[in-house]
Symmetry: C2
Subunit: 215 residues, 2 copies
């Protein structure tokens, strides 16, 4: 029933014109995703709106899902970069609460970046709603969790990765939920989401740290 589908890009664009075409496909797909949703988007429509013929699209992507997958990859990479930047700017601060204190940076940047690229949210939601693509988001969140764990576990002697990983994973999930809400819910302004989510995550980790220091 649910046979495997090739999700990899078929052929990478080599010439300048081709790179433009490739990017245009992804941009148009993003726009259509927000406008009409996953269940209405089609390769025919993407090609038409991108000003190319359908076989050109199939030159780069083996099928429709590969387009969505590429969209997801591009987005996840950007999100990942923000996390890397946040980790880098706090690298020299050895105190265990360093990252917690700077958490608002991560949240602000994530919300602003997502807002700057309209369609980012739609991509996340589309990936989640399509069974064969769910792993993309899951994988990205796990990778971010790993990166944070790699940083803090060695700096917390006696604490185990096994106890920290699920807690970080949960914070990552709730963080993204907050980002999504900042964009989806007009009745709560973004500044409030930023402030209160930061408060909440910080309160949680300060609590954990207090327990840890008592050991």
């Amino acid at each position: 029933m649910d046979e495997a589908v090739d999700l990899a890009v078929k052929r990478a664009p080599r010439q300048k014109r081709a790179v433009e075409t490739y990017e245009r496909i992804l941009d148009v797909a993003t726009r259509l995703l927000s406008e009409i949703g996953v269940e209405r988007i089609s390769t025919n429509l993407i090609a038409a709106e991108a000003g190319i013929k359908v076989p050109t699209l199939y030159r780069y992507f083996p099928n429709k899902y590969a387009v969505l997958m590429a969209l997801g990859d591009r987005l996840m990479t950007r999100q990942n970069e923000i996390v890397v930047e946040w980790l880098a700017r706090n690298e020299d601060d050895e105190r265990p609460e360093a990252l917690i204190e700077d958490f608002h940076f991560l949240l602000d940047r994530s919300i602003d970046a997502t807002r700057a690229e309209p369609g980012a949210l739609t991509i996340m939601l589309a990936l989640r709603a399509v069974p064969r693509l769910q792993e993309v988001r899951l994988g990205s969140h796990r990778q971010i969790t790993d990166a944070i764990a790699d940083r803090i576990v060695p700096r917390l002697p006696g604490a185990t990765r096994a106890e920290l990983w699920p807690r970080i994973r949960l914070s990552v999930e709730l963080g993204y939920a907050a980002v999504e809400m900042a964009l989806e819910e007009p009745l709560v302004d973004a500044a409030t989401v930023k402030r209160e989510t930061a408060n909440q995550i910080q309160a949680y980790w300060r609590g954990w740290l207090a327990e840890y220091l008592k050991r």
Copy 2:
């Protein structure tokens, strides 16, 4: 481009046989949603799997989106009932921290109920991913926020609904994100999600309450 679509149920089933048919349509649609996703589900397929002919489906639903909408309504009603139950069981406790202390009840029940009905998660995700149906989930979360605000605002003299509503709204959102993660992420077990999310929400509201009491 995005013209209005009638999402209301066309005709309510009156006889016993009809009620069964109607429910079977929704059950089959839920299953197909998890198995193949929103972008693959079709009225033809739903009818075939439900053992009815397509015109029978169109007797009750004006179009495909109305089926998804009905699915969402049914789910949101159930989620809402859990919140009502939680509010009811804490009605007599006048202390402001009453609901906070009992928060784990709400979370446990929500996770267990969602787990008991496979497909519940898929419905949420599908609704969110389809532009014309996004309001269903948003409306449900706002309604829950209203119900909680109705309870606690009068019991917190001096606090305004304007300051509480966004905070409650955020907790509702993060609560559901936790429920979703409990079901989507096999690398973190449900017990941990329950415990840590409860800790986090409680830490946040205890912090708020401490500030409030200082006023």
